[in-house]
Amino acid sequence: MKILRTLFTALRALRRNPMRALLTTLGIVIGVAAVIAMMEIGRGSSESIRTSISSMGANNIMVRPGTVTASGVSFGSGSIKTLVPADCEAILRECPAVRCVTPLIQARAQLVYASRNWVPSSIYGASETYLDVRDWTELSEGEPFTEHDVRTANRVCLLGQTIVRELFQGESPLGKEIRVKNVPFRVIGVLSSKGANMIGMDQDDILVAPWTSIKYRLSGSSMSMVNQSANTASSSRSPGDLYPASASGLYPAASSNSTLAVRFANIDQIYASAVSSAAIPDAISQIASVLRERHRLQPGQPDDFQIRDMTEMLKVLTATTTLMTNLLLCVAFISLVVGGVGIMNIMLVSVTERTREIGLRMAVGARARDILRQFLIESVVLCLAGGAIGILLGHGGSLLVKQFLKWPVATSPGAILTAVVVSATVGVVFGFYPAWKASRMDPIEALRYE
């Protein structure tokens, strides 16, 4: 009640000199506008930096088969084939922290087109979600292959820029047939350029095809020398009617009398993408438990697979985000301090200018704390009003930046809330000294002040 009355008094006092009120609040207006604009533009930038980094694979999780140890001799990663396509489906179905997942078959083979040939560093057989997992959905030309292509093991492929340059030399590869180990594949799309990865491998030196095509139509996929799966697959390569189009018959059934840990449709790797970089630890533990259950591993038995994430990239990602956030906080803090000092200056001038008013108010019975409260509320009201105008200006500014400079911008309700709280705080902190000074005036001196 009393506060409300003081609020009205403060508003009346401010209304008496709107120009001064405007100038006083200008510092806060600019400060808060700067904070809001910086926050929104900064968040937009950091969001787009984050997206670029995660397109390098920071959100990716790789699952590889485990090792075989015989008589104390380990055969190293991938020496046993334990992963099957159904594992992929189970992971996608049962792990909420996983956004999408693809099986991966690796091969090494020579590509031939007309008189030119090239051995790409990677030939990947994957499902249609591969591009999604790798954040690589933008093709420079053509179309990605579809689920239907995977089901029917169509001989279609996507090429990376390096292969296009080496084999086609300026020609458009779309619709052309290249031969992979003498198996013709039709080029249906060209991947956008991705450059080298973190360890310097050319990521554009890549051919991506449906994993069924690579596995069943191409002999000599990787590991074919060390286990039977590829041989099993390659042996059933030539007769086309062995690859039924129906989903149920997609994978050859495991033979019941097999004593080896070999599955007929095993795959070299599973590539998964977490819903966000923060969800990676969750995703890893979910994948592990799904795979352990599917592979019927007893508690205490070692995993027959290995899960890796891009720890190094994640570190870069986290460091970048933290750096951006801290940078923005510094800018925001400096702007608000500058604004606050502005408020304090003009409030001090205002107190001096209104010395007689203060003396009069004291003479008619205002206590020191009434004067203190009045000036404090005046400065808080100024700061809040300034904050509100600042929020509008800052938001408008960032929208203009988005409109004309095409910078990414992200609205930040947190920043708006912070700006309101901070401008009220600035009002109290920087309004206190002038208000205290006013409340300590001697009424006689103040009344006599010219």
Partner: protein
């Protein structure tokens, strides 16, 4: 019991190492319903005496009894309460808040009163007060839109809004022409006789001082020759 009683009030101001004595052992009694003129040349100490009487300043020594309460020992907040409820002030330069309507100027002391009134009630009281002083059609005028006499009447309305028993007027006619001065002084006399408000008027003008019922001369920080309208000089000290 007298309304105001000063006993041996002294006021010293420190200057450098020593101090200068502005009021020297002033003793004075003012009765309820008096109209007292404090007269004296500038530097005589009449303003200091007025500030002490108005609870704006504290004496270095002595006692000040207002309406049965000792004032010199009160805290700043208690003195503020006293100024708000018991005393009214009218100044030479009116001291109205600029760019604020007459009504809001009059309402101002109410906002510092302890009992919270509704905004409506405050407006009603302030309006009644202004109407009483012939400013019924000036509620929404700013001080700059009012004549000197009207401004001083707004100031008087403001001084009386909390119904204090004592009204202090510090050179209230100093900025007014003789005709308006006369009007304002007649107003004071009216308030004194009709409402029984005790009026203490500070002036250096003998003609103005004549309007009061009693004139107290101050010279060099002492009460020189208090006299009554009857002309019989009374020695300084309790005149009751």
């Amino acid at each position: 019991m007298s309304l105001i009683e000063l006993k041996n009030i002294c006021k010293d101001y420190p200057i450098g190492d020593g101090s200068v004595s502005v009021l020297k052992e002033v003793s004075l009694t003012i009765e309820r319903g008096d109209f007292v003129s404090l007269m004296g040349a500038s530097g005589s100490g009449k303003s200091t005496l007025m500030n002490i009487l108005g609870c704006l300043d504290r004496p270095t020594a002595g006692e000040y009894w207002l309406d049965g309460r000792e004032m010199t020992g009160l805290s700043a907040d208690e003195r503020a309460w006293t100024r708000n409820h018991r005393l009214g002030f009218v100044f030479q330069s009116f001291n109205l808040l600029p760019r604020t309507t007459a009504l809001e100027n009059v309402m101002m002391p109410l906002s510092y009163a302890h009992e919270a009134l509704s905004e409506q009630e405050e407006r009603r009281r302030a309006g009644a007060m202004l109407t009483r002083f012939g400013l019924a059609d000036r509620f929404q005028h700013h001080p700059s839109q009012l004549s000197g006499g009207q401004q001083q009447r707004v100031a008087i309305a403001r001084a009386l809004i909390n119904q204090p028993p004592v009204l202090f007027a510090d050179e209230p006619t100093g900025n007014l022409d003789s005709r308006t001065s006369e009007e304002v002084l007649r107003l004071f006399q009216e308030l004194n006789t009709k409402e029984g408000i005790t009026i203490i008027l500070v002036t250096h003008d003998a003609a103005v001082a004549q309007h009061g019922g009693r004139i107290i001369h101050i010279r060099d920080g002492m009460i020189a020759a208090p006299e009554t309208p009857g002309g019989a000089p009374v020695q300084g000290g309790p005149a009751a």
